[in-house]
Symmetry: D3
């Protein structure tokens, strides 16, 4: 696998040169081929890496420095264009390998469907894990226009895999009637519109548990993150997402992996979306990788 051989492309600032003693592995999943509306998230990972060059290495939020965490940016998985099933298989293998090595997988999307094979791999290692899902969209569809492999389905699949009672969604402001009905009836947790306030209530209940966190950048309002495939008005601020990352860092949950998906740089000429995303990745590295 690529991260065994070293990597010479773009990397997140202060990435270690090899993966051996890294606590976390950053990896990109440049896939956007099941996206129905606006493609382009395949370029997200590299633009996040580029924007990281403009970051300070120290965080006044966490009062920590990137040299306090060891991580290795392995570059992008070389996914085959236009082949969703083979792409998902490769992501699964990749995530599994990282987990087998006892390291924290920190994935960069790509469309949200990439989280699904990661969650399958996580489930094998941590059968009792809970999912924190931060997103504008419920992603609870059973299928999308006949395709069960779609960026609208991963959370539903996860409910079926680990039980809806282990799934916690935050910031949801868009979905089909059926998705909201499912959320209400199935026993999963869903906080509409808000993220930080409901997290304050939920995190104590998750105390001591293994938790995987998936963040879709479109939970932010398009004012803060226009560079995404399905922008949805009425979202939260960058400040609230930074606070939310901090709340999780300071809580008693055990974060075992995370991903940040759906950054599609082409729709944002101001570059504010990858600039914000790279800051969130820094905070995740400093706050969640322990």
């Amino acid at each position: 696998m690529r991260f065994d051989e070293g990597y010479s492309g773009k990397v997140f600032i202060m990435s270690h040169p090899t993966h051996e003693d890294a606590q976390a592995i950053i990896y990109g999943m440049p896939m956007d081929w099941t996206v129905s509306f606006r493609p382009g998230s395949r370029f997200g990972p590299n633009r996040i890496r580029e924007a990281s060059l403009g970051l300070e290495e120290y965080s006044p939020y966490m009062d920590k420095h990137l040299e306090d965490v060891k991580y290795f940016d392995a570059g992008d998985i070389p996914l085959p264009f236009g082949n969703p099933q083979r792409s998902l298989d490769m992501i699964y293998d990749y995530a599994k390998k990282i987990l087998d090595l006892g390291k924290f997988p920190l994935g960069l999307g790509g469309e949200h469907l990439v989280s699904w094979p990661i969650l399958q791999a996580v489930h094998e290692k941590y059968p009792d894990f809970a999912l924190i899902h931060i997103d504008a969209h419920a992603d609870l569809r059973e299928e999308y226009e006949g395709e069960p492999l779609s960026h609208s389905t991963p959370v539903r699949k996860t409910c079926e895999l680990i039980g809806p009672e282990n799934v916690y969604s935050f910031g949801i402001r868009s979905g089909m009637r059926e998705e909201f009905a499912y959320a209400q009836d199935s026993g999963m947790y869903m906080a509409k519109f808000e993220v930080a306030e409901p997290l304050k209530e939920v995190l104590p209940k998750l105390k001591g548990r293994n938790v995987y966190v998936t963040i879709d950048i479109d939970v932010l309002d398009p004012a803060f993150a226009p560079g995404t495939g399905t922008a949805e008005a009425g979202g939260i601020t960058s400040k609230e997402l930074l606070e939310s990352i901090q709340l999780i860092a300071q809580s008693d949950v055990h974060v075992i992996g995370a991903d940040l998906v759906e950054v599609a740089p082409i729709y944002d000429p101001t570059e504010k979306t990858p600039i914000a995303a790279s800051k969130f990745i820094r905070e995740i590295l400093l706050g969640w990788v322990k």
Copy 2:
């Protein structure tokens, strides 16, 4: 008239094929020729329709689905380029016809002057109606550089038509000294800078009354709606406007018509302005058309 003949151009999602049994008529007013600064709102209506394709048909805010409301998008009124008076006459006739049919007029601007003939038609049917005006600008000028027909004058004209005590402005953060003086002295209501909080105070007083609502997209901060002719810093968030629409929906006022104006897509390469506007229109359909 056009909406009698069916229409084959762009329409808002889930528009009914004919107007006969529709409760509401959506219509565009592609006029921007009295605008002094940055033209382009003539393209607003069609871009809002296009952006509606990216919307979910269900609203978690209202817990309603667009199939619960019957509406017909009649397309744009074919206004004569560069001829303000004839344009206003045509809008007046159009709005009057909708009202005569007992339907809810939901207009898409175009510059704010388009609201003036609508309000005249509304006044004929509902002489006792009150106006809720949500905007960054007071629009209380008597004339603009010698022209009484200007996008800066419609609210002043309405004060003269229905009495200032029946005019309620919200979110105002820009205007001439004379306009703010008029607001204070005339007996009209004006809430500066904020929308949702003052609405909570005003709505109970309007209980049972017929109310027309006009929204200028520039009440939003340019962070949320850069695609408008006269962007003004210091505005409200998309979230606050969504909340305000919901407050009106849940109140005891009787909304008899509405418009959303001044979306000028060319100034917003990220398309976040029409994306937000289409969501507001969905919420208005679901919450105000009864």
Copy 3:
């Protein structure tokens, strides 16, 4: 000097034709040559002037009109391209002259380093002044990649000049570990992330003092001000900055000069950054020049 001769280029709206009876002098410092990341703030002053044409002359925040204040926009200082030391010398001389004439210097940047010679000139006239510094970045570095003259150093230099106990920073959300350590250990004041709330606490303590205020536009979130060199996610809103300007205006401090820096228009195709900046300048004129 240029402002003695009149000036025929672009000016801020309602600038007086000559400087003689002006209370304040607006002047641009089109310098960006020590900037490491994204240059372009040299075009900030003129774009702020252009955007001022879209402003109302009356402010509902201050309930004042620009005709209530006398100011002269002297245009840009003709700084020599690529020569930082000579540029700083010219700015020093310019600021000194304004202060000698007993007028309020209102500077438009340009990179943040331009504030340093102004502060030196201010110090000579008001040895006991305090600095209010509103910014995303601490700017407390001793040097930047070996260069002591850098846009990352002016606040540190000022601490050394007037004593850290006279320096008050607000809104800081980015910097090196050493900068935050210095802030904590040196005795200066630093409010992280927020501006308006901490100002409410600090202003009473500064009662009666001479205060110079320097504002870096990047204190705003990139949603509100993408047009800047080093955009940093997680910032404040335009509304909060307007409120902060008002808080200072209503306080008992004596503002003796101010600047607004780092507007780099090229990175903002929507022009919302200069639009907001021109409004802040109007508010400063109305609220701080007495």
Copy 4:
């Protein structure tokens, strides 16, 4: 099939309301999922239709009017996102049906791979047809990173299907060494860099033959068509492509179908690419459909 039922979306100007008496069928193939570099050509067909609204219906090049030709724009084939094989099957069926009805298929891409199933269908009806291929890229690869279904392979596949001696490429300025070697050795015709001049030589040799023409918009220099996935400097002008279309129209070949592919509007903020493409489609309708 869709074109039997009428269609109410966007259409090319002056499209007939039904397909029955149409000589030509315009159809879109919104597919870009095997594209390795910059996706977005899925939006090409609709933006070409939109841009057609700005066209005159009369052509001074052909001295003909669009009312002189009967054509029906059937809209886009509803291709399944991210599923290349099923997409190609659907395009094959669609093209076959048009050909069975004796009509001229005029396809709008989408990535260049969409031409492959069309050419298979054309081959069944006209086993002796020749291909005119106008493009910056040779598209003669056997596979692309292991995938035989790729936008880099359709011309090679066609060589194998109909014999390289029946394939004529024009304007080629990019490809692998192996592709140019194949072009030289296989017996196919390839004109490098130029289109109009070599056409003047080749067309007389094709006298009386059935010819299908596929045009990749990237044969134009990026100055004329920046809105495409793989822009390549050194291309021809819009004028030369207009002249080339005219040369074919005035020749003695029998054009039996055509397509125009790879318009990716997102990369062209000025919209000049769809504006040019819509003009080429008008000229093809007027000049080639007989």
Copy 5:
């Protein structure tokens, strides 16, 4: 009139401070209200002035320097927004006054309709003048959607005013069938697609005559001038237009006035359109004002 009082806004480089001894008067006509498709040319004049700051004052084409010509840039005529008739009247009065003073009127549009009142004024002073019209569009319509005052009609009106045999159009590549038929039947001259070559043939025939030249920037291909309202593929290069200006300068015609219209900067984020336009204006000043 404004140019009697001096003017303090933006001016073309090296404009003289007063008009008294100027040979030519530059004046802007910021009107775009009869434009059907994409407004924005009202901003053309000022952006051309701004772009002139980047020009050299010397022309290697003409081997002349701007200090060799005396001209005064009078700024924009303050046209009333949305009032075409009054606007045209004001332009007529303005042009008449310049001509009465014996100066060369050099107008900056604005939409092409602005040329009509100028040509009426020119006709009064020079009843025998000929028109050179360089444009992508024939502009020979009798009316546009019922409005005789439209940007599509000025050349037709001029044919009626001065006789078609005195009208020479160049570069035309778009129009209705009727317009081309009129061009052929009426006795006017029309060169399709090309400008420089046909000028070489026509200019000797115009030897010694008074000639007014109107240039629509859209004669250029959108590659060279995307910033215009109705971009039309297949146009000429900037080089050919520069050569054409030079051909006229070196000919034996007597140029008595000129205008350059339809620069709409908003559609060109690269600014290449006003950059090119300002160069054309410099060449016109150097080559035609004698």
Copy 6:
């Protein structure tokens, strides 16, 4: 020096991993601090490298493949921001070292002033070399607003260094009267407006000589290269520049080094400028490095 240690940043495609056996060294000079108008060329080198990823490795112009040439991309020289003199010293040392190693220096700018120290270093090794200068601007000023170190002066300085009779400029279309007078009087060669045709005349005269070539991307028309600091209408096409590179490659001159400068990506949202520039670099590698 950096290229001795290997380099892990962005590199031009197919760069060798070490410099030892490389025939040519690619190096970036990210300097734009003496630029008077529009900065941003400091980002040119890396965007050219990025764009190279979209290039084919084989050139049908040269019929050669990048694996036929050995070159090492050493990354950017770490120039000190805002310090022109030290920057030039570092470039001088760097170029000297490459020349001392007997390798071909292929520099990427950066503003045109960066060529000056390279030419000084070249002169030391090849005192008899001739300069081919391809540019829109004469760059023959003695100083620019008092600064002798300016991007407008390098060709003049070179004339003084090696004698004007050894300087050959092509494509020049902008400059001061004095610069054109100097060109005419000094004995240097200058071809105005054109590049390829005059090269065909000049190259035979340079037979057998050592020649350094400096190309300013703005020799292209802004249609082909809008991403540059001082765009000048009326330029050549990408095709003509490709042809010119080929003419030099096929001639009997001995190219000893080259640079390509003034790519400023920020002004070109379509990326066509770095796309074209990367192709020119490929052609230079294939055609000039022997």
